[in-house]
Symmetry: C2
């Protein structure tokens, strides 16, 4: 198998075969092209990248770090420690802290346990099980809440996440099947703010495959905290299995799905207007936001 | 395998297992539900159903015929003889004519060869090959043109086609991949007229699978002209193969795709306004419509 660019021996093949250095160049070029096409970064931006410690978020942080000198923006990393033993590695924090130190990136950490005001010994998974909400959904809700609140309070104007074509394709089908078109309408490389308290989102890896991110961190010698921070749950997902299977038949399937999403314009039903939660002041479409409702249910302050 | 409805021995299983009579009831009920949900039929309608002689169009004609007494509308069948030996069976016309006679449905036939003014001995496939346009695309263009023109001139206010969930899902992915969202926006059980000379379309089998249509004609003892009128070409289609694979893993995949399509609202770029072709007077967005351009290219009148 030969590299399509330089004809040397290829090391990876997703859609095209590449050697190590041509792969890195091709991957970074694709991300830069997306950033330019959708104007994801402006001079003077203050971007907070959410890093779990997995291949996707570290690829995102790495590529953004390398672009600081070109686009002239400020970059920082936020890690949210979910405190679920099956989802996070004991080395995670150290891995991300070293990554940031080597690249001169400000590093911030927030812990679910601190936010929820529970003791270090509490098992977060058992705590979450006490509500009827699925664990992954609770985790996602808290992460989105804390990420937005922290970014705003710390003065960032954009949040970057490592969502890749695999995630987006799965979200797409799950939401198509449950007819949540309003959600699909938001799956774009750039989601502008919809409320003064909501920070815009950018997704630089929108057109990158999960396996490409894995190859990227490997070739760049980036230590990651684990194969996937959520692998414990994702293993059970029937969508992952189906999409893996489709991938074998059509390796360009996910890329074509996400490229369609970039351009489709979906009319959304008028959202309920956002207001501020009566308890915490964060934006919500209800009187009390879902995080405060959740905390109340568990009798947490 | 037991019928989920009556517990007798099941004869078919697509998503659920059914015996023969429960399948027919279930299938017809689903089509009626769709017709009611999207108000496809109004009292006094004059509906022309396009029948190729295959399982899909004959299922559509059969179910519409059975609903005439309930919804009080007029029904007729139009068969377009494409004159391509690999696509049409020599018995096709006779099969459809008998079907109509038994059900007291007016039967009309149009032949490509008559419309193009070519001799009976001309090989249509060889003729079509003379242009750069793919044969299936030419065939589709001519069929849409003739169907609309005939329906309007003969006083019908709606055209029904046997497009089923398999067709729609394939169209969906093909058009998503080529980012033809305007086309996807039109894939609905009901497509209203967009010009005084364009007849509205209804697709009563929008939520039916191809294999369900096959079971339906079999259980209802309806003679069809062949397995599929287009099977010669469709065999080559990579989308059919991929969707067949997906089907084996998730038998409800196509149904969920089409049910999403029923409700999604896609903002379409402003179409170029339709006007009338300078040669034939049929609606087009150009000076000369694609059919007249095609005829000119082949030096046909």
């Amino acid at each position: 198998m030969r590299c399509v660019a330089c004809k040397k021996e290829a090391k990876v093949k997703f859609i095209y075969a590449f050697c190590e250095s041509c792969f890195i160049r091709h991957y970074e070029k694709r991300v830069r092209k997306l950033i330019n096409k959708f104007k994801l970064i402006q001079r003077g931006d203050k971007i907070l990248v959410a890093v779990s410690g997995g291949k996707d978020s570290l690829s995102c942080a790495e590529i953004l770090a390398s672009l600081r000198s070109i686009y002239k923006f400020k970059l920082a990393v936020l890690h949210i420690d979910v405190g679920v033993s099956t989802c996070t590695d004991f080395r995670t924090e150290e891995v991300i802290r070293s990554f940031c130190k080597e690249r001169d990136i400000d590093f911030y950490i927030i812990r679910f346990k601190d936010f929820l005001g529970v003791d270090e010994s509490v098992d977060i998974k058992e705590l979450f099980k006490k509500t009827r909400r699925p664990i992954c959904s609770t985790c996602g809700m808290l992460k989105r809440y804390l990420l937005n609140k922290f970014a705003r309070e710390a003065g960032f104007n954009k949040i970057a996440t490592g969502h890749c074509a695999d995630d987006i394709t799965k979200f797409f089908f799950k939401n198509w099947f449950s007819q949540n078109f309003d959600w699909i309408a938001k799956f774009k490389p750039f989601t502008p703010s919809s409320h003064p308290k909501i920070i815009s989102r950018i997704r630089p890896l929108f057109e990158c495959l999960e396996m490409e991110n894995l190859a990227y961190v490997k070739f760049k010698n980036i230590t990651i905290a684990g194969y996937s921070q959520c692998s414990y749950f994702l293993k059970k997902d029937k969508w992952d299995r189906l999409l893996k299977f489709i991938d074998e038949k059509r390796p360009d399937f996910k890329l074509n799905i996400v490229r369609g999403l970039e351009y489709i314009k979906i009319e959304v039903d008028k959202d309920r207007p956002l207001r501020e939660c009566e308890i915490c002041g964060e934006p919500t479409d209800r009187q009390v936001c879902s995080v405060c409702t959740f905390k109340e249910r568990l009798s947490l302050k």
